[in-house]
């Protein structure tokens, strides 16, 4: 992988970050209201509000405040919450692992279930397994994630106490509790992805399996599993990988809802709360983080193409 390739990708990151942070800053400040309501409540005097706005530099022009924020961020200081005084970097550090784990487990769950099911379904299109898994996929896709979450909590936490209804234990504290607390949320979040991946991979596999070289492999007498796994799977994963990368945006949005429902102390919950309280600085921090994460994820997807398909590598090397 050439240094130039990586360098180009990093350079692409910078304008994206500027654009995203500027836009979110603008949108946030267009919202009526300001943090003084959240901080002081309804019973503060005019003078107190004016004084607080001045302390928080909220009476300065928008562009000045944005430039100041950029300067601060460049030195690694993401500011402090207006409401709680907690440094943003500390809040992000506390909450990022939770969201990352949730996203990772959701994707893992979706892939671990989707890939074998797709393989089995593609092997015999139209057979019982194919039809059942397809119907189930559509069913899961149609159910809103918050409804599914509530149903899962009712069944597996309240009726049968397999999992906790809410809450999160850190991985470092107790790995078993940690995984238990994330089963229901990961399933809630991952199940819609499962449906999409299943359908996508299945149709790509069917197309691949119709190719000549597959017929050749079968003619050579290779067992079915080898044909599927070693010859058919890799070329069929391009769409899957692309969608998985793009999906991160959708997953982060879904994570907001799931974190709220299951009371997981992640980035999503932080962002939602901070928007309500007009905690501009914290929201800017989370938006930045999500933007960076999104670009990185798609960068990884690009890298993955190279690994999956040697032709891509050679084409890149030629440039």
């Amino acid at each position: 992988m050439s240094g130039r390739f990586i360098g180009r990708k990093v350079l692409q990151l910078v304008p994206v970050l500027f654009a995203v942070s500027a836009l979110s800053f603008l949108l946030l400040n267009l919202l009526p209201g300001d943090p003084t309501v959240a901080i002081l409540g309804p019973s503060a005097t005019t003078e107190a509000r004016v004084r607080l706005r001045h302390e928080l530099h909220l009476d300065r022009p928008l562009v000045t405040r944005y430039v100041h924020w950029v300067g601060q961020t460049a030195t690694g200081d993401l500011g402090k919450s207006y409401v709680s005084g907690q440094p943003t970097t500390e809040a992000l550090r506390q909450r990022l692992p939770v969201t990352l784990e949730l996203l990772a487990l959701s994707q893992l769950l979706a892939l671990v279930l989707a890939v074998p099911l797709a393989l089995l379904a593609a092997r015999r299109p139209g057979a019982l397994l194919d039809r059942v898994s397809t119907s189930a996929a559509f069913g899961f896709l149609a159910v809103p994630n918050f409804m599914l979450g509530v149903l899962l909590v009712y069944l597996f936490a309240v009726r049968f106490r397999f999992f906790p209804a809410t809450g999160y234990t850190a991985l470092t504290e107790n790995p078993a509790s940690n995984l238990r607390s994330l089963v229901l949320p990961s399933f809630t979040l991952g199940v819609a992805e499962l449906a999409v991946y299943l359908r996508l991979l299945r149709s790509d596999l069917i197309a691949t399996l119709a190719q000549d070289y597959i017929a050749m492999a079968k003619a050579k007498g290779l067992p079915a599993w080898q044909v599927l796994l070693r010859h058919a799977l890799r070329p069929s994963t391009f769409s899957l990988v692309t969608v998985a990368g793009l999906n991160l945006g959708r997953l982060v949005g879904g994570a907001f809802v799931v974190e709220y429902l299951f009371s997981l102390p992640g980035i999503g919950a932080l962002t939602v709360e901070s928007i309500f309280k007009r905690d501009y600085v914290v929201v800017q921090g989370t938006v930045l983080l999500v933007a960076v994460g999104y670009v990185l994820a798609n960068f990884l997807v690009d890298l993955l193409y190279g690994i999956l398909d040697p032709r891509v590598r050679h084409v890149r090397a030629a440039h």
Partner: protein, 544 residues
């Protein structure tokens, strides 16, 4: 290879039916169980020491500094672990000294003297002295958050190491009630001076701060040197904010947490029916409950005309709203003092009378034309239901409204500057009505566009006189008369269209005891009901 249809109709239907059957089976074998209300000691025997309680609260707090962070009910619940209030309410409905040894006044009620107990230590070992109390009170007087409520304090002076004199600008009979709330919690001066103090509190309270991960959990451990010997019973407490009320209730039912609080009537009704859950509510408790009402902007036409306001009151079927949206649980309201309050009286507030409403509307229309204004609420689904129901009720009387949903932060700001017509609001839940002065006085009523704590902006000299009497009169009968006069003025002038009294409930596993049975340091019984959802954690124990 033959391509079959993607989805065979028959198998799809079978799958759907199977899923529905599973769901129906799970839901119908419902949790019918013993419904009990009252998780309080009684028959459970003497309190046992030990154990750990996890409580789920309705929101995360902003911080632990009483002079800088807002303490709503949740804030006070958190504060109760690491701090003690100077005073607390007893079963007799009166304010008793709690952290303070005594709270006395001079004959004119212009000087209140707070005497502390000797030998009380903060968690870091430093002694509780009058310097600490002075630092707290002075901090409140400077705080943009809490100073409006105590604007009548002229000075706070140290008399000796254990005594503080608080001098008022006017006689102030009900001052001690403020010492039972945010203003009464004593934080160590180090906490107040530390810029990070709000995230690392030091107090005198039954539990010592251990850890706080905002949005995740707060943990406090037993204070071994607590000044009330034998307390607290619990070894450790943990608080988890769970905003979504259904998740909170599920957490209790699933056993993930031990204790929750809520104001949602549907949840309270549901928890009362659940197995293995004890529910205590405050429907019967004395002292002001919060009311739900429509707040009217009396400076903005057409709501500046009292006929319109009276028409709205007569056109509102309160009982129907409570039955439709609030599961019939809370009582409907005709004023700021509900049936259990010592200030309750018949106020003459209009009953539901559609004919009367129509005639008032017709009278106004002859003069000034059709009545139309904006009706606002927050983004909550339940509030929207109320507002839609009421819009229809008012339409029947000939009043047209447009519904506007506003997000919470802007909602409060709009009310403050008067940028609203009628807002669905919730307020006035103080244990003593003196604390409502800032909301009802004409001194805090400002013109449109200026920040006005009296949101309805009604300037009523009769109410002002009554508020003054209530604050300065030592005679309980006179105070009662004063507040009843205010309630009658509200009924005549209708700056508020009352709907219901709010209900707080604390639900727990049956093992959790002592929520409403506890003793004050002077030996008398502590208040035996939830005061707007609050209770003394130091006296809670686990019956295991």
């Amino acid at each position: 290879m033959k391509q079959r249809a993607l989805v065979r109709p028959r198998s799809f239907v079978c799958l759907v039916v199977a899923v529905l059957a599973l769901v129906a089976a799970a839901c119908s074998s419902g949790s019918k169980g013993v419904s009990s209300s009252g998780g309080s000691g009684g028959a459970a025997g003497p309190p046992k020491a030990g154990g750990r309680v996890i409580m789920a609260t309705e929101a995360e707090i902003d911080g632990f500094d009483p002079t800088k962070n807002r303490f709503d009910v949740t804030g006070l619940t958190y504060a109760e672990t690491v701090y003690d209030p100077l005073a607390a309410y007893g079963k007799d409905g009166k304010v008793h000294p709690y952290l303070a040894q005594s709270i006395d006044h001079n004959a004119e009620y212009t000087v209140w003297t707070i005497k502390l107990r000797p030998g009380v230590l903060f968690h870091d070992g430093s002694p509780l002295t009058s310097d600490a109390v002075k630092a707290n009170l002075d901090g409140h007087r400077k705080s943009p958050l809490t100073s409006p409520a105590i604007a009548s304090i002229a000075s706070v002076d140290k008399v000796d190491d254990l005594t503080v004199n608080v001098t008022m600008k006017e006689p102030w009979v009900a001052f001690p009630t403020y010492l039972t709330g945010q203003i009464g919690y004593v934080a160590s001066p180090k906490t107040l001076a530390d810029p990070n103090g709000s995230r690392n509190p030091i107090g005198t309270g039954p539990f010592k701060f251990k850890e706080w991960v905002p949005g995740n959990h707060f943990v406090a451990v037993k204070n071994p040197n607590y000044w009330q010997k034998g307390l607290p019973y619990l070894d450790e407490v943990e608080y988890r904010p769970i905003v979504e009320v259904q998740s909170r209730a599920s957490s209790l039912k699933a056993g993930t947490v031990d204790l929750i609080h809520t104001t949602d009537p549907d949840t309270i009704v549901d928890l009362r029916k659940a197995k293995g859950v004890s529910v205590i509510d405050d429907l019967k408790s004395p002292g002001e409950h919060e009311e739900g009402f429509f707040m009217l902007n009396t400076l903005k036409p057409p709501l500046d005309d009292v006929r319109v306001r009276r028409a709205l009151a007569a056109a509102t079927d309160r009982r129907k709203i409570v039955n439709t949206v609030y599961a019939g649980l809370p009582p409907d309201s005709t004023g700021p003092f509900d049936a259990n309050s010592p200030y309750h009286a018949d106020t003459g507030y209009p009953d539901y009378d559609l004919a009367k409403a129509k005639s008032l509307v017709a009278e106004y229309e002859k003069d000034k034309g059709k009545i139309s204004f904006e009706l606002g609420t927050t983004n909550s689904a339940k509030n929207l239901q109320v507002v839609q129901l009421v819009q229809d009720m008012w339409k029947q009387a000939g009043i047209t409204t447009t519904i506007k949903q506003v997000e919470q932060s802007s909602f409060i700001l709009n009310a403050l500057v008067g940028n609203y017509g009628a807002y669905l609001w919730r307020q006035f839940g103080e244990p003593d009505p003196d604390a409502d002065v800032i909301w009802w006085s004409s001194q805090t009523a400002r013109p449109l566009g200026e920040l006005s704590l009296n949101f309805a902006r009604n300037k009523d000299p009769q109410i002002d006189a009554a508020l003054r009497q209530g604050r300065q009169s030592a005679d309980p009968a006179q105070r009662k008369a004063a507040y009843q006069a205010i309630a009658r003025r509200f009924a005549e002038d209708v700056p508020y269209v009352w709907v219901n009294t709010d209900v707080w409930a604390v639900a727990s596993k049956p093992a959790v005891q002592g929520v409403t049975t506890w003793t004050l340091p002077d030996g008398s019984a502590g208040i035996d009901s939830l005061l707007s959802g609050r209770f003394m954690l130091s006296h809670v124990w686990l019956n295991k």
